[in-house]
């Protein structure tokens, strides 16, 4: 099981870095048979470890001023018997919600919301999030500029500056 986990974590790392990497390329890089790589990926998909395959997009570049992202701190009163999960379930159903995490510290949920403009996001927060009966407070922070996203620096990589040297 431990060995399987090692292989799986390497494959996950490669897919996370570049999900367009082919089975054959992964097999070569990891020195594993293609069939084994395919089997591991199948298992990871079935077990919901791999949730999907998508590109990391610098939306600032893609949309210009046509989209805004907000990070919302939400304070709630957990529901009896159901704790925080029931509240989270109600929140993550909204398509505007791109991510939601239960947090330690001074607020309960950290929520990433996307909309076409500030008004749309503000409306969503006031009409849907703040209006929920369990919610006792919100704080909305709009993203002004994205520097690094999911481990990737948004600025274009600098060109290879290694110079010719006698070694």
């Amino acid at each position: 099981m431990e060995h399987y986990d090692d292989k799986a974590s390497v494959i996950l790392e490669l897919l996370h870095r570049d999900c367009r990497c082919s089975l054959e390329q992964i097999a070569t890089m990891t020195n594993l048979p293609v069939d084994e790589v395919a089997g591991i990926i199948d298992a990871l998909e079935k077990n919901h470890v791999i949730l999907g395959y998508g590109a990391r997009i610098n939306w600032d570049e893609a949309n210009g001023a046509d989209a805004v992202t907000a990070y919302i701190e939400l304070r709630v009163t957990p529901q009896r018997d159901l704790g925080y999960d029931r509240i989270a379930e109600r929140i993550y159903q909204y398509p505007e919600v791109k991510a939601i995490n239960l947090m330690s510290g001074s607020y309960d949920f950290g929520i990433t919301v996307e909309g076409r403009n500030i008004r749309e996001v503000a409306q969503f927060v006031s009409e849907h999030l703040a209006a929920m009966e369990s919610v006792i407070g919100t704080a909305t922070h709009f993203v002004l500029k994205r520097y690094k996203y999911d481990g990737v620096i948004c600025a274009p990589p600098s060109k290879d500056e290694r110079q010719v040297i006698s070694l």
């Binding site: 890089m29 290694r162 010719v164 040297i165 070694l167």
Partner: protein
């Protein structure tokens, strides 16, 4: 202008220019050229190490250090060598911090060679040993390592090269350009040949952290009979992606290190202070960085080696460093022509094996210190080049 060449030192004049530069000067001017030529990590020095260097400047650590290097750095070097390779050195008398491993090689050869002393150099190898030997008054003697021996130095080859004038054996493993390594049994066999002689060993282990597979690097200095006669040379360039910081070190017998430090103190004074503070951080907290980079190189290694073998260019599996050394003999071209035609036809720059000694004829060196995408594109172009021959 007056021709000044007649005033130059004859030993310097006799040194041929490096064979590596030529192709890359051409490639640098070509649009869309891809290089597999650079012999340094593509990683940037890990941030916590850079940050420590910056912090040392903020604190005003801008003075010389002691000639042998910061005591704390020498102590950390000893701790590291003990932790990683079971080697024990005294930081006060057995370590000198140098400007890269190359300076340490120069110091050692200058400190020990008398005119006419022979230095045994297994080839193909890094380009500096021959010229430095010549400049120090020694005589470089090549030992040709062979693909069928996985480019390792064999005891028979060593025995055949030893003469009464042999003073030094260079052991450059893991090897640039072949990627060959010497495992324990191979080093034991070499040690057996050397025992009973006074031959010193220059163990250039700059790629020690970049070995692949289940077996870790072993230093010849860890063999008890070899410890005193071996000067271990290493540095921070390859393991921590710190090439531009120019920091290396040598460890060995106190008499040898004292002599090397004497040369160093007059030629260099001390290694850069900024780099020394950064290196302390690297040694204390950089093991995870090494592991991350090694894993990444290993994936690229599999990609490039299988790529060459699949296209019919036989490539022995390198177990160390970050170079593949495929044979191009099946193309009917010599190393130089292969590289030149490949560059002009497909805009891919690789280094002819002959840049690392005549024994490199029939091979080319391809660095995999490049992204997988870069390697893959280069392999596609090389395959197209080979198929149309």
């Amino acid at each position: 202008m007056r021709n000044m060449k007649e005033l130059l030192n004859s030993a310097v004049q006799a040194i041929p220019p490096s064979g590596i530069r030529r192709f890359f000067d051409i490639a640098a001017e070509m649009e869309d050229a891809i290089s597999l030529g650079v012999g340094e990590p593509d990683f940037v020095t890990p941030w916590h190490i850079r940050d420590e260097g910056i912090y040392s400047l903020e604190k005003g650590k801008t003075h010389y250090t002691s000639n042998a290097g910061l005591k704390e750095l020498r102590t950390e070097i000893c701790n590291y060598l003990n932790r990683r390779f079971s080697l024990r050195y005294d930081p006060l008398s057995q370590v000198v911090v140098t400007v890269g491993g190359s300076e340490a090689i120069d110091l050692f050869l200058r400190a020990v060679l008398e005119p006419g002393d022979e230095v045994l150099i297994p080839e193909p190898c890094f380009v500096c040993y021959r010229p430095i030997t010549s400049l120090a008054g020694g005589v470089p003697v090549s030992i040709v390592t062979k693909a069928e021996n996985e480019f390792r130095l064999t005891p028979d080859e060593l025995k055949a090269a030893i003469t009464p004038k042999t003073k030094v054996l260079v052991l450059p493993f893991p090897n640039n350009p072949t990627g060959a390594v010497m495992r324990k049994e191979h080093l034991d066999a070499i040690a057996e040949v050397l025992s009973g002689t006074d031959i010193l060993v220059l163990a250039d282990e700059i790629y020690a952290e970049l070995t692949y597979g289940n077996e870790a690097h072993i230093s010849i200095a860890s063999i008890p009979e070899m410890y005193e006669r071996t000067v271990l040379i290493s540095g921070f360039s390859k393991a921590y992606a710190m090439t531009g910081w120019r920091l290396g070190y040598a460890c060995g017998h106190p008499d040898l290190i004292a002599a090397m430090t004497k040369v160093h103190q007059f030629a260099i004074m001390s290694a850069p202070t900024l780099a020394q503070y950064a290196a302390i951080e690297a040694l204390k907290n950089g093991d995870a960085d090494i592991a991350m980079m090694r894993e990444e190189y290993d994936r690229r290694r599999h990609t490039i080696v299988s790529g060459f073998n699949d296209m019919g260019l036989e490539c022995f599996e390198p177990e160390g460093a970050f170079y593949a050394f495929p044979s191009i003999q099946s193309t009917g071209l010599n190393s130089n022509d292969f590289c030149e035609k490949l560059l002009y036809d497909k805009k891919v720059a690789v280094v002819p094996g002959t840049a690392f000694g005549e024994s490199g004829e029939g091979f080319v060196r391809c660095s995999y210190a490049y992204s997988v995408q870069n390697i893959q594109e280069a392999l596609n172009r090389i395959e197209a080049f080979v198929k149309h021959r």
